[in-house]
Amino acid sequence: MTDVSNSGKLGEPLERLDGPAKVTGTARYAFEQPVDDPLYLHPLQADIARGRVVRIDTSPAEALSGVHTVLTHENAESLSSRVDVELAVLQSPEIGYRGQVIGAVVADTQEIAAHAAGLVEVTYERHPHDTVFRSDDEIVYTPDGSNPMIGEDLDRGDVDEALAAAEYAVDATYTTPAEYNNPMEPHATIAVWESAELTLYDSNQGSYTVRDMIAPTLGMDPQRVHVFAPHVGGGFGSKGVPHAHVMLAALAARKLEGRPVKCALSRRQMFSLVGYRPPTRQRVRLGADSAGRLTATEHSALEQTARVKEYAEQSASAARNMYVSANRRITNELAVLDVPVPTWMRAPGEAGGMYALETAMDEMALTCGVDPVEFRVRNEPERAPESGLPFSSRNLVSCLRQGAEMFGWNDRDPEPGVRRENGWLSGTGVAAATFPSFSIPGSKATIGYEPGGYYRVEIGAVDLGTGSRTALSQIAAEALEVPVEAVRLHLGSTEQPRASIAGGSSGTASWGSTIVQAAREFRAEHGAEPAEGAETTAEAAANPAAGEYAMNAYGAQFAEVAVNADSGEIRVPRMLGVFAAGRIVNARTARSQFLGGMTMGLSMALHEHGVLDGRFGHVVNHDLAGYHVAGNADVGSVEVSWLDEHDPHVNPMGIKGIGEIGIVGVAAAIGNAARHATGIRVRELPLTPEKFLI
């Protein structure tokens, strides 16, 4: 392979190509796409957590002027596939969770649809439900594997014996609550049915994923389903797969052929219809020898899943490879409940799992009397502990050392609860971060040489607002050895060649490799001076190094915390993240990704908590006034830095994903800092004031 990483264009802080359109409001998101004479859809949701609809009287709603139809299980068409229960809407009267879709009103305006929805009278047969997350045997089972492709539980050596023999031991249980993705742009779709073809303008993380899942459910040839996602206002995993509302809009549009049907979910509806990070309960047991080296590591995670559809978060997976430990046991269990279906949320697995592991690491460092940075350095493995493979690159130690230097960690007094100023106790904490470097094969890109002397680059990837459009243009420019102005990138829809999902921080690496491959083939076929109209489509070759190296990004998170000695209020005046995440394609958009991830980590540490009421089975604080996410005033100084990391194995550009690692470890760093500030160790997120009251 030619190394394309030296021509200088990668890494430049190019401004977002779509920035002006976004800030002037001319970038059109899904719901804003111009369509003729649209109708509006409002979903009807179950008010009970388990049971069935015995009667649904839609006549008062249908009698309202402006209402076109009310879909229910009684009149909805029979779907070709019911494999995905989230998509197989209105196929039976059964209810598996509160908030499940039981119908939809379609009307001339959003207001009429919402009003009519309130007029539909539903009679239920209620069945007993179970929605309270806990570790009772009756609801707990071991899944066959967990997200994304993590295999069975791991049991190496003899953990119990090693713990019994250990000089130092930590045994602690940590809990994290249900957290909700809440992207800025709520989920929205417009379905248009014309001549037996379905067009969806949809806010998603993969237009091909939407097509691949919707087409078989409707019994359609995928070629007849067209999906457009030109701009997306965040997804964080909740737009990774299509949810019920997309099917509702599609069904309604088919029924009302000729009229486009628009559906935008409200925040409240999102709390039951688009997934969430499941709550977890994680026990971590660590054993160390007198030199502060880990001899035993056990991470047992329990997460929530839904009875209607399994989602197995992989909270304990990072502990498989994070530190040395001759004896290691990793287990993952699920508690199955009558709740909405959980899904990916930014850094699924690592975000919650590394909170537990990195808090336990802090506890162990204190137990051993070793500085927390030093303790992690001492436990750095030479090869990936689980597989024995070498790392393609692993620079956690450098992140920790550089971060410690930049943050002023080295002068730190480890004594807790002694720094007090104007009624505020302050402290500092550290945690490590990691996230796998995924590449998803199978994407294709087309490159054409156009009149006017520019290169048209097409790939059906989606830019979630992360800056993919800009970063991929830079990659294309470099691979074609032309200035970035000579590249016109088209993405976001199934009109372009097939591309993988924007998920698992895999986008830039997977799509970038595809574009590089297409550029090479284009030049091989058409030379440096192609004729107008020259065109090449290519697919990236599989990475020959996959399976030979363990590939991950790493980082070190530092936080300074202040806790009010009277009220327990907790503030984070300062954070620093130092990352080793391969080649950085665009310094500006990359910084925003890290910043955003760290801010989301702060929000997870201090605020986010979906409170479930077991009597009803719903999230009580299901809006943004009740479900707190960090506001500007909560975010102090956030500094982002990265190492100049050269990884020759991950892909031709040396890129690792950066979308998710920013959130990992933040909650632990903040919790560890709060402990340093107050002496109080909280093992339950979020870190709300009452937990620090004395």
Binding site: D47, E111, A114, H115, G118, G423, D566, S567, G568, E569, R571, L606, H607, V611, D613, R615, F616, H618, V620, N621, H622, D623, A625, G626, H628, A630, G631, N632, A633, D634, T688, P689, E690, L693
Partner: protein
């Protein structure tokens, strides 16, 4: 949202006549609370009478040193008013601690006083709530009640009043001016809101159709100091877990006068008379502050999720008193 009529009122009398004569009609100020409730189906008025063009949009000095605040003065304008900032800092601080800049730009004095509880079950028509639908039960009593009352609650309702402004007004001995079809009346702000008792649906002593026209503040004592302290989950844009408004005068090391109101604890802004009593004439010491707080909280009753409010109030009230009684330069 149910369709509704909308009228812009040009004079108070006809506005009052319209609303008084129609049980389905409501006044609308900034609409930041009412419109949310209409969208959520909590209230479904048939008619809105917009009062923001009525001539109640100014802050006026009164003879004798007090001020009159018009009912339609926006929260942002009131917080920025020179006389309020100079002479009633507790009120300016309370306003700025509430909601967000955008909301304060719309919110009015009258609307703020009459904003309804943020109890999540009240705001969700799919769950029982005695306040929204009398007789259906109180979901919060044994549900998620972290934000709920520890003082003055009943088995029928444990909701809290969410207003920051009203807490400051309670500590300032404000009076609410109200006009109805029968004429005008003056209500001490501490008597405007009710405790829930067995009628949680009635939050204030106002009759349907009565219009708040103004709030009057008595002249402040030149030697008093005041402050508003709000404890919340976020650094901004969150309702109070606990808040304290206090106006204190110290002479010769002893507290000569204290007026204290607490927020986040009860169905109304809670005037802390027991604490005031305990402080009167007592030396400004840590022990005095704590005793005063304990005296006020003696009757406090915690629910499943809000026991922390009791020590949090005790600590916060003590901290506020410490700050207000600290000698200059000390």
């Amino acid at each position: 949202m149910k369709p509704f009529d909308y009228q812009r009122a040009d004079d108070a009398d006809s506005a009052i006549a319209t609303v008084s004569g129609d049980p389905e009609a409501r006044y609308i100020g900034g609409g930041t609370n009412l419109v949310d409730h209409m969208k959520l189906g909590i209230t479904e008025p048939g008619k809105l009478v917009d009062i923001t063009r009525l001539p109640y949009d100014s802050v006026e000095a009164l003879p004798g040193g007090g001020v009159r605040i018009g009912a339609t003065v926006r929260n942002s304008d009131l917080a920025a008013s020179h006389v309020i900032r100079q002479r009633y800092p507790v009120l300016a601080q309370a306003l700025l601690a509430g909601a967000s800049g955008q909301l304060r730009n719309l919110a009015t004095t009258g609307g703020n006083l009459l904003q309804r509880t943020r109890c999540s079950y009240f705001q969700d028509t799919s769950t029982p709530c005695n306040k929204r639908e009398p007789g259906t039960g109180c979901s919060a009593l044994e549900g998620w009640n972290r934000y709920h009352a520890v003082l003055g609650a009943s088995e029928h309702c444990v909701a809290t009043n969410p207003s920051d402004m009203a807490v400051a007004l309670a500590a300032l001995d404000a009076t609410v001016l109200v006009r109805g079809q029968e004429g005008q009346r003056r209500i001490p702000v501490t008597e405007l809101h009710r405790l829930p008792g067995d009628e949680p649906e009635r939050e204030t002593v106002l009759e349907h159709g009565e219009l708040i026209t103004a709030v009057e503040l008595p002249a402040p004592s030149e030697s008093s100091r005041s402050t508003y302290r709000k404890v919340r989950d976020r650094a901004s844009y969150a309702f109070a877990l606990v808040s304290v408004a206090a106006v204190v005068e110290v002479s010769e090391g002893a507290i000569s006068h204290a007026r204290i109101a607490l927020g986040g604890l009860a169905h109304k802004p809670w005037r802390a008379t027991a604490a005031e009593e305990a402080l009167r004439g007592a030396p400004a010491t840590e022990e005095t502050f704590r005793n005063a707080a304990e005296a006020e909280l003696a009757e406090a009753r915690a629910l499943r999720d809000n026991a922390f409010k009791i020590p949090m109030t005790r600590n916060t009230l003590s901290a506020v008193l410490r700050e207000l009684t600290r000698q200059e330069g000390a």
